[in-house]
Assembly symmetry: C2
Homo-oligomer: 126 residues x 2
DNA sequence: ATCAAAATCAATAATGATTATCGTTATTAT
DNA sequence: ATAATAACGATAATCATTATTGATTTTGAT
């Protein structure tokens, strides 16, 4: 993989904005400082970074995919009202994959957990 | 909600085909016997059935949403090779939502778990 | 059984997210 | 410095899904 300035600033954006932005959000943020960057470039590089394991792609949270610079094992919580995504530390959840594998006989390799509810911020506001 | 023949056969299709079909698959199956049914009708009714709790919509498994006639609490396993979806009984997984709520302080209301790996069928074939 | 109101339908246009294409530009190994 | 190639920007294309519209069914009251 060849170096590119664009990939670098896309990764930086993800690291600075830990709020699990969508591709479009990353584009919007970058577009301010770099008006020439293309949305296609953002998608292209987010996918590449995902494939090489530098970042993580989160599907099924919302309408569109979100991207996470934190590649350590952890899970997610999404607020039904504001749609903000929160991290749920891995330790909170037991070794589900291996447990489920043992009990079902399926060759489970991983598992994704999405918790849903109302976030503290939205609870206060209502 | 008013009765409609179309909604009835869409629900029947889901009950007969427990393989978690996509809207498009439901349409393809029905189109053989009912060439006049519209894809939009399938989407509309699958959404209605989901909203009234008759069926369940599964997001984040694959590219497109899948539908499940089984509304009992359970989780899912998707094979990385053939993309078939298997049910994982609820009992296999402990009371995650309440546990996670207690440990994170978030108002967790529910959680979806997707297990990933290779299904028995594909294991044999390789 | 009849008729109007409400819901649903089929067909299709529109939308939103994402990917593919293509001619140009930047990076890297020689 | 050059040639090979990977990446870029712009935009067209694709895919899944939703909205629109005018016609048809279903329902409930007469």
């Amino acid at each position: 993989m060849k170096y590119s300035k664009q990939r670098e600033i896309i990764l930086e954006t993800l690291q600075k904005n830990a709020m699990h932005p969508t591709a479009d959000m990353v584009y919007s943020i970058l577009h301010v400082q770099y008006p020439n960057i293309s949305l296609a470039t953002v998608y292209r590089n987010l996918n590449q970074l995902t494939q090489t394991g530098v970042i993580r792609k989160l599907d099924g949270l919302d309408g569109s995919a979100r991207f996470d610079h934190n590649t350590h094992k952890h899970h997610h919580f999404i607020c039904a009202k504001c749609h903000r995504v929160y991290d749920v530390p891995y330790e909170v959840v037991p070794e589900l994959a291996t447990q489920a594998a043992a009990q079902t006989g399926l060759a489970v390799e991983s598992c994704d957990i999405i918790f849903r509810g109302c976030c503290p911020d939205c609870l206060v506001k209502n």
